[in-house]
């Protein structure tokens, strides 16, 4: 039996309409690129979280080893007071959509040590509670087979680096509810 204790932050979740300020998770092992994408996204009215690799991205999204992690399960309950949950270790709780909307878009570099952007994409698309989150892949290399592979796996867009502000604005419009 597994037991978990968590106190919930009742309005730790954002109250602003996420369509006005969508939350983007940017994944890139390059420090300079992270700073640039963060600024470009902020200039397009996005809230941004940056991480340096796929493992951190999955942790942030609430996945560990392909399963929603238990702390995520409890915090998404939205309770006002501390909650103790005792679960048999084999029990799987279906993840409410609310948790998935914590991030409205994932933008990830393709070439990263450890987990590539493609592998991250597969894990996200393979997860029942994350598969609706749009994923954009960026790469400095224009390799048609790579691009096709990503699009086939469910990436919404593939963009070439170095990114321009206009690329990010387009992305924002196409993928993140430009309608006001």
């Amino acid at each position: 039996m597994a037991s978990y204790y968590a106190s919930s932050s009742s309005s730790g979740e954002v109250t602003a309409d996420h369509r006005d300020f969508p939350h983007v998770l940017a994944v890139d092992d390059n420090h300079v690129d992270r700073k640039i994408i963060e600024t470009m996204l902020r200039n397009s009215s996005c809230r941004v979280t940056t991480v340096e690799n796929g493992t951190r991205a999955l942790e942030y999204l609430g996945l560990r080893d392909g399963q929603p992690n238990s702390a995520t399960l409890v915090s998404s309950a939205g309770c006002q007071f501390p909650v103790m949950v005792i679960l048999p270790s084999s029990y799987e709780i279906p993840m409410p959509i609310q948790q998935a909307s914590k991030v409205n878009l994932v933008i990830t570099d393709y070439c990263m040590p450890g987990m590539t952007g493609y592998e991250l994409l597969k894990k996200i698309k393979g997860s029942s509670f994350l598969k609706e989150v749009p994923v954009v892949i960026v790469s400095s290399e224009n390799v048609p087979t790579r691009i096709n592979k990503c699009l086939e796996e469910g990436a919404k867009m593939f963009m070439l680096k170095p990114l321009k502000q206009s690329d990010v604005k387009k992305l924002r419009c196409h993928l993140l509810n430009c309608r006001s």
Partner: protein, 154 residues
């Protein structure tokens, strides 16, 4: 020098960096990201580029000195350096990295060492030029002027 002269000197200097290929259009993208809410953006990103690059160049040197050189590691370092130089518009550094990656495939240590020297030279040249650019910008601002923006077309 008055503000106008300082601004003119700054513009001319920046133009020369485009003319000799030190910088490309991506640098203008960075300048466009700088505004009142982010007034030091270019200096911050370029400073980050300097510190990351110096570490990468050290890592490259030591990896090429190993008894059994791991060319995949060497290639990975060069890929990083190519990426960040491309992202800030440091064109000559980027091009030197592209050449270097070609050599990694051939797995020739002497050729890689020569190419590393070239990359270092281009990096130091770019660093020197950018530091001078920032100094000139500071002089303009200190004299009460604002940094003129260069059109992508000029």
């Amino acid at each position: 020098m008055d503000v106008v002269q300082l601004q003119s000197r700054l513009s001319e200097y920046l133009k020369s960096l485009f003319n000799d290929g030190t910088l490309d259009g991506q640098f203008l993208q960075l300048q466009q990201l700088q505004d009142e809410s982010n007034p030091d953006f270019v200096v911050e990103v370029v400073t980050l580029f300097f510190s990351d690059s110096e570490k990468l160049l050290d890592d490259l040197s030591s990896s090429l000195e190993q008894p059994n050189v791991d060319f995949r590691k060497v290639d990975a370092y060069v890929h990083q350096l190519k990426g960040s130089s491309s992202s800030i518009g440091a064109q000559r550094v980027k091009n030197a990295c592209i050449a270097f990656r070609g050599l990694c495939e051939e797995q020739s240590i002497p050729a890689c060492l020569r190419c590393l020297q070239l990359v270092k030279q281009e990096y130091l040249y770019a660093k020197n030029k950018l530091e001078t650019l920032f100094k000139l910008e500071k002089q303009v601002v200190a004299a009460g002027g604002s940094i003129p923006s260069l059109d992508a077309g000029s």
